[in-house]
């Protein structure tokens, strides 16, 4: 193996420090913020960004120093960037659902309980399945 490449080492070190700092800030937000809707911001944005920086550092390290082109990190980051918003959406739905079941059970966000959608519509988490769709217990 050849000697260290100074530029590569600086790049990888900077990315690792950046990623570690963002991951730390994301988890600190999870501890520090007062309600669930605010706590969702930390892990879904800061931690995902920090992990993206760590994965980029890994790609750069294996490419520039070891001379190996790896794609697993890119797969992980692509998968993570696709699934983090879905997880956050599901957790927010659980929060709304529990808030509606028992308003005293959860700390409301500073914006208060969200207003209902217009008309006779319901949030997707509250609504019973329509007739003719899977799960309506009529045609089963």
């Amino acid at each position: 193996m050849s000697g260290p490449v100074p530029f590569a080492e600086w790049l990888v070190s900077g990315l690792i420090v950046l990623g570690g700092a963002f991951v730390l800030v994301g988890s600190w937000g999870l501890v520090r913020l007062p309600s669930l809707m605010e706590r969702l911001h930390g892990p879904t944005k800061a931690s995902t960004l920090g992990l993206g920086a760590l994965l980029l550092a890994s790609v750069a390290w294996f490419q520039l120093v070891e001379g190996v082109w790896t794609t697993h990190e890119l797969l992980v980051s692509m998968f993570l960037f696709m699934t983090a918003p879905i997880s956050a959406n599901m957790i927010a739905k659980v929060h709304l659902h529990r808030l509606r079941q028992n308003p005293r059970s959860e700390v409301p966000s500073p914006a208060g309980i969200p207003p209902p959608p217009p008309g006779s519509a319901q949030w997707a988490t509250y609504e019973a399945p329509h007739e003719g769709t899977p799960g309506d217990f009529v045609g089963d």
């Binding site: 070190s13 992990l51 760590l54």
Partner: protein, 93 residues
């Protein structure tokens, strides 16, 4: 093989991810609502993926990235399963 900068950066990264995991664990035990605990578990999975990636750089071997990929998938499926169970009382309707 490495100069003077990378070991310190790796040490900082390990420390940061470790402290982040400890804070997630605190939220997992403390969290007043069930959604808080689900969120804490989801964040713990993300942090453990970061830990695996850092260990891969520290060891200089890429054999642990399959574990990271599997953990990303299993963590997402677990989070969605918890949420579906709380929302609908069932995971697969």
């Amino acid at each position: 093989m490495t100069g003077a900068v990378l070991p310190w950066a790796l040490m900082f990264g390990f420390a940061a991810v470790g402290i982040a995991l400890a804070m997630n664990l605190w939220r997992l035990f403390k969290g007043p609502a069930t959604a808080d605990r689900i969120l804490a578990l989801d964040t713990m999975v993300i942090n453990v993926i970061g830990l695996i990636v850092l260990a891969g750089i520290a060891e200089g071997s890429g054999t642990s990235f399959e574990a990271a990929l599997l953990l990303a998938m299993v963590g997402f499926v677990g989070t969605v399963a918890y949420c579906k169970f709380l929302l609908r009382g069932d995971i697969i309707e």
